[in-house]
Amino acid sequence: MATVELHNVSKTFGTGKTSVQAVDSIDLTIPDGSFVVLLGPTGAGKTTTLRLIAGLETADKGDICVAGESVVSATPAQRNVAMVFQQYSLYPHLSVKDNLAFPLKSPILRMAKADITKRINEVAAVLQITDKLNNKATELSGGEMQRVSIGRALVRSPSIFLMDEPLSSLDAKLRSELRLELKHLQANLGATFLYVTHDQIEAMTMATHVGVLDEGKLVQFGTPREIYENPVSQYVASRLGLPRINIVPIDSISSDIDASNFKDNAPHGVTTVGLRPENIIVNNPGETPHFSALVKRIEPLGDQTRLHLSIADQVIVTLVEPHSGLVTGDSVKVSLRKPLFFNALGERVS
């Protein structure tokens, strides 16, 4: 295991007018033993960052260091990294056992046969695939395949595990199971993980650090809690949270009661306000209401109920307890906690 550092790394695909800046001057330190999740929508440069570290792409500029040594001129094999792909992860012509043995038989390792068998059995036990070892790779279910492909990464002791949305092609139940297992594995091994996803639940539940990418730039890096509570921009704020954060123009919070007060307290230059659903409090006698709003729609989800409120011409979503007794058309008093203020560029203002 090792610390992995990226210094000012850039990568552009294509040339001329059609070129795309996939990764733009990224500085990133992945501490030894941490679980770093890169978060961002499609095209943000997450996978490219991963591939740059793996050596499947070469950086246009910048330096990549593993355990303090630059690896930019090393081949993928020499970098001693392990990678789990989103799909097509197993060699289809080999059995599960041979898939697991594949990295150990490589000319770089050339492990002895007895050691290979021992290592495979250990990993298979951890991943609960011992009874599938003799199956062909194509005879597995999606969850088993991904388990084996994680196993193929685990058989070695690489400097870093690179995971490219390994759970995204699985169904929801399997995903939540494997999520826990992965986190457990990482903690037990003390391994360094760099994990790419656009799934915010994966980011929140597994990460020790989250890096948010936007168009090839690393816009914020911190613990999941920091990113959630203290986003540097509107973009970062909307990466995490379900239901999503409500972004409304400050001017729409202008109606009755205490509105002037709320607006007056806002810092200078604010154009929009970000309100987490849990920070929009409805009909709480203990809090000063800021304004009143109309219930537009109610979504009962069982454990909670989503309330769509209309204020001015905006709709905001909040959560109430399921037995609130509210119906469409009710007028409610709303108070706001921890508002996040953003300026016209979407940057955080405080």
Partner: protein
Amino acid sequence: MSYSITDPSKRQKRVAAFLVIAYAMITLVPLLWVFMTGFKTPPDSISYPPKIFSEPSLEGYVNLFTTRTRVTPERLAELPPPENFAQEIVRNRDMVIAGKSKYGARFLNSVIIGFGSTFLSIFLGTLAAYAFSRFKIPLKDDLLFFILSTRMMPPIAVAIPIFLMYRKIGLSDTHLGMILLYTAVNISLAVWLLKGFIDEIPREYEEAALIDGYTRFQAFYKVVLPQAATGIASTAIFCLIFAWNEYAFAVLLTTGTAQTAPPFIPTIIGVGGLDWPAMAAGATLFLLPVLVFTVLLRKHLLRGITFGAVRK
């Protein structure tokens, strides 16, 4: 009863079966005729009206592999009794076996040239197809078009220049010359077919192998090749069938040492008229290797033909 709208009805199945069988019969009749003629005696083979069934005889096969001389009945009577069935058959025609025919050697030439050129086409074709599929090559599309353009005329159109060139550089009537020639014709087919197959193999497999500690070539060898096996097998069949059956170049460029079976078979002329059973026997035996090869690889062939038609 289970019913699905995409399942053909019983009647449709019967009609389909009838059509398939009828088509198979039509295409198989000439083959069957050749096969049966091989087991007829020369008089039966040319009798009029034609005999469909006749007493089976191995005379055609004996004639195919031997050369014979006519002897006088007195001389025949002096000979010791025939040692085997072949001698017996020949003596019934007032002849004795004088030696081996050239069929065995010609057949061996066909094997060497057919399989040699198939191997070379596949070997070069796979490497080229992999490069075209995976690497950035300047003028890639033009090169691919150029390779294909060699198929845009009948190969025999360049027979005269090739004949002259081969004579000049000493490749006429050599195994190497024929292997190179058939490889040149087949390689465009091989590159295009194999490129299609390799394009369908996700790059992730090779990337995984690279990360797992293998070099590019090892990744190609250990991961890409096994998965391209289907494509390679079906391409090999197409290449072999072409090289095996090729007639025009073989007639023109080979006369002796490297002559293949196709130009040789029609030259089997018996004593006093064409020896149809011997020719038919030669043709029947000539079909066998391709038949065996195709049967062995038939699963791949079928998958190869329909490959890419259905998204997995």
